[in-house]
């Protein structure tokens, strides 16, 4: 059953068209990853789904609620973890959670119970009465998540929730999100970290230049790569010798099968072991020096690179 349906979403800010017709849907109970580099239109799309911006055109439905026409109805069912730490720093974790709980309509003993429960989930029961300003970045991120799940939202939207935190807090957050999703909460997760999206999300949408360029399960996306691994050769003076290397490789690989990036030559191939020695030999013939060789199995990063021609964090 579809929980969220986004159709032909567009958003312009003056002359700039930030989102150019985004379409995707999310099933109930699913975890959906939205991947894209900075400026791809990811946050604008999220902001339209949460009802912060009205779209220039297109539709967003949460169940049968038209988010564009009835944003407040939809917002009761959505929990949002914003990218920034949107908390009152001089208040304690307890006070912050209590405040956001009341904003979402909880009160009395129900509110107290939910705050205690959420503090337990985010692992901060023992620091409940401490001011948020005294917390580490990771702890603040956990309270930021806590404030979004107090009202048991049907849809939890997380916009880069692990930016700039320590590995321990990151793992805690990932485990929390995984657990919430397993308990039935639908999750939309955006991140720069592909391994997080790979770990958490059943389906992924890749957004670039304001459009969804691919979507599907990780398996489906890998198939777009035709299951090709990447051979990464780090070469001294790769830019200066690019023309010679190009000439040598042209006899062995098609244009789509290799590309240069920074000081690396990247070759896509289904069976890297078979072509590796020939590749090394050909490149060495040009008089350049290879400093390292790395073979990377197909993953989300290679899918993104394959589809957009650039790294996610470019």
């Amino acid at each position: 059953m579809e929980l969220l349906n986004v159709q032909h979403l567009r958003k312009s800010f003056g002359q700039l068209e930030a989102v150019k017709g985004v379409t995707f849907s999310v099933k109930k109970g699913e975890s959906f990853g939205l991947l894209g580099p900075n400026g791809a239109g990811k946050s604008t799309t999220i902001n339209m789904i949460t009802g912060l911006f009205p779209p220039t055109s297109g539709s967003i439905f949460l169940h049968d609620i038209d988010v564009v026409k009835q944003p407040k109805q939809a917002q009761k069912r959505i929990g949002v973890v914003p990218q920034e730490i949107a908390l009152y720093q001089e208040m304690s974790a307890w006070e912050n959670l209590k405040f956001w709980g009341r904003i979402y309509g909880l009160n009395g003993s129900q509110l107290t119970r939910k705050v205690e429960e959420v503090l337990e989930i985010i692992g901060l029961s023992d620091r409940a009465k401490d001011k948020v300003s005294t917390f580490s970045g990771g702890m603040k991120r956990r309270v930021n998540i806590g404030a979004a799940i107090l009202h048991n939202p049907e849809l939890l939207i997380m916009d880069e929730p692990t930016v700039g935190i320590d590995p321990q807090s990151r793992n805690h957050i990932l485990e929390t999100v995984k657990q919430l999703n397993e308990e039935g909460m639908t999750v939309i997760y955006t991140s720069h970290y592909m391994e997080e999206v790979e770990y958490l999300c059943e389906r992924i949408g890749i957004i670039d230049h304001g459009v969804v360029i691919a979507s599907g399960t990780l398996k489906e996306l890998r198939e777009k790569m035709e299951d090709r691994s990447r051979i990464k050769l780090t070469i001294d003076g790769v830019k200066e010798n690019a023309a010679d290397i190009n000439k040598v490789l042209a006899g062995h690989f098609s244009e789509k099968e290799f590309q240069f990036q920074d000081n690396q030559l990247i070759v896509f191939h289904k069976e890297p072991q078979l072509v590796l020695s020939e590749l090394v030999h050909s490149v060495t013939e040009t008089g350049t020096r290879i400093t390292s060789v790395d073979i990377v199995e197909p993953n989300l990063e290679s899918v993104f690179l394959h589809l957009t021609g650039r790294n996610l964090r470019d």
């Binding site: 009802g51 917002q75 990218q83 949107a86 009152y88 001089e90 006070e95």
Partner: protein
């Protein structure tokens, strides 16, 4: 509308948790009022002396009685020679001579009093305003005597003895210990510090916008109206708490009376709403809290100077008094003066209220227009 209360209580709680807010909103104004109010009360114990030079006759006796109704000055009758000496030795601020051709001057509509002075001090400005008021009253009495075919001195005596007729100085009659000026000074400080306090609080919206809590509120089920009402109500309550604490402190320190509460409470509420609107306007037209603080400092201090918060407008030149009409503080002070004097003139107060309402509407319109709800 149930989401207003959590927003309101959160802001009150966070505001009063800040020690700097306490200093700005309570300690500073009480301290200023205590120092300057105390100075003012002490200075009133050493009243400026004014000499009166006049021949002894029935009319002059009534005029002297009329002049002596202003208890802000110590009136002493002297000879012309002695009065001149006193003025030149700076023993008195001025000498007021009632000329022999007094009645001709009334008919000829010339200046009624001859005033001898060395310099135009602040005290002289106050004296001058009073002399002009008295002169108008005397002229009116003369015309009335003419119409009624009664003796001028009888009519004047009637006017002088009838309490409440000397409009400009009725204040002094009703508050013999002359606390109105002290009260106004305190109210002036209260308005200024309230403007700083509430504008500072309103510019917290800018911080919230930067920190993300504003955006988070906007994507919550709380409606824009609930959010903005919660914020504004918290500023209104902060303003009232500050004002009430100040009034109580000054009552305790100087034993001041504040006039009728049934006028004071709604009028103070209007002033606080106006100040809240001012804070909202600043928050709406700047982008950062730093910009808001800079703009607040310039605007608040300059408009308080123009609006008669630091000194009475009576002592500034006429063109400055006209400029003062363009700042809300002058209207606010005028209304407070009316209420605290105990001699309420509903016409003047109504004018003050309408002007304040006008400023409030403009401030809110600009402020709400500048609020970013996306």
């Amino acid at each position: 509308m149930r989401r207003i209360f959590p927003i309101l209580s959160l802001h009150l709680k966070s505001f009063f948790k800040t020690p700097a807010a306490f200093v700005l909103m309570f300690v500073m104004p009480v301290l200023f009022s205590w120092i300057f109010g105390g100075m003012s009360v002490n200075s009133k114990q050493n009243k400026p002396v004014v000499n009166i030079v006049a021949d002894r006759n029935e009319t002059n006796t009534e005029i002297i009685k009329l002049l002596k109704k202003d208890k802000n000055f110590k009136w002493e009758t002297e000879t012309l020679k002695k009065a001149r000496e006193n003025v030149s030795n700076d023993m008195v601020i001025a000498a007021v001579a009632i000329p022999e051709d007094f009645q001709e001057r009334i008919i000829g509509q010339r200046a009624l009093f001859d005033v001898i002075l060395q310099k135009k001090s602040q005290d002289y400005q106050a004296l001058n305003a009073y002399l002009q008021g008295s002169a108008r009253l005397i002229s009116s009495s003369y015309q009335a005597a003419d119409t009624l075919e009664a003796s001028f001195s009888d009519v004047l005596a009637g006017v002088v003895n009838q309490k409440g007729i000397v409009v400009e100085r009725q204040t002094i009659e009703k508050n013999p210990d002359n606390h109105v000026q002290v009260n106004l000074m305190v109210v002036g400080f209260a308005i200024m510090f309230m403007m700083f306090g509430l504008s500072g609080a309103a510019s917290a919206i800018l911080d919230e916008r930067r920190n993300g809590t504003w955006g988070r509120l906007l994507i919550s089920p709380a409606r824009k109206g609930e959010i903005i009402t919660g914020y504004l109500l918290s500023y209104f309550i902060m303003g009232w708490i500050q004002f009430a604490v100040l009034l109580a402190a000054i009552k305790f320190m100087f034993g001041s009376s504040w006039g009728s509460l049934s006028y004071l409470v709604p009028y103070t509420s209007l002033v606080i709403i106006m100040v809240t609107g001012f804070g909202l306007m600043i928050a709406g037209i700047v982008k950062t809290k730093q910009q808001a603080m800079a703009l607040n400092s310039v605007l608040i201090v300059s408009t308080c100077m123009l609006g008669g918060v630091y000194w009475p407008l009576d002592i500034v030149p006429e063109f400055m008094q006209k400029i003062a009409l363009a700042v809300p503080q002058s209207w606010a002070m005028s209304g407070f003066k009316e209420i605290m004097s105990g001699s309420l003139h509903s016409g003047i107060l109504l004018k003050d209220i309408l002007a304040l309402l006008g400023f409030t509407v403009v401030f809110f319109a600009i402020g709400l227009r500048g609020m970013k709800f996306e």
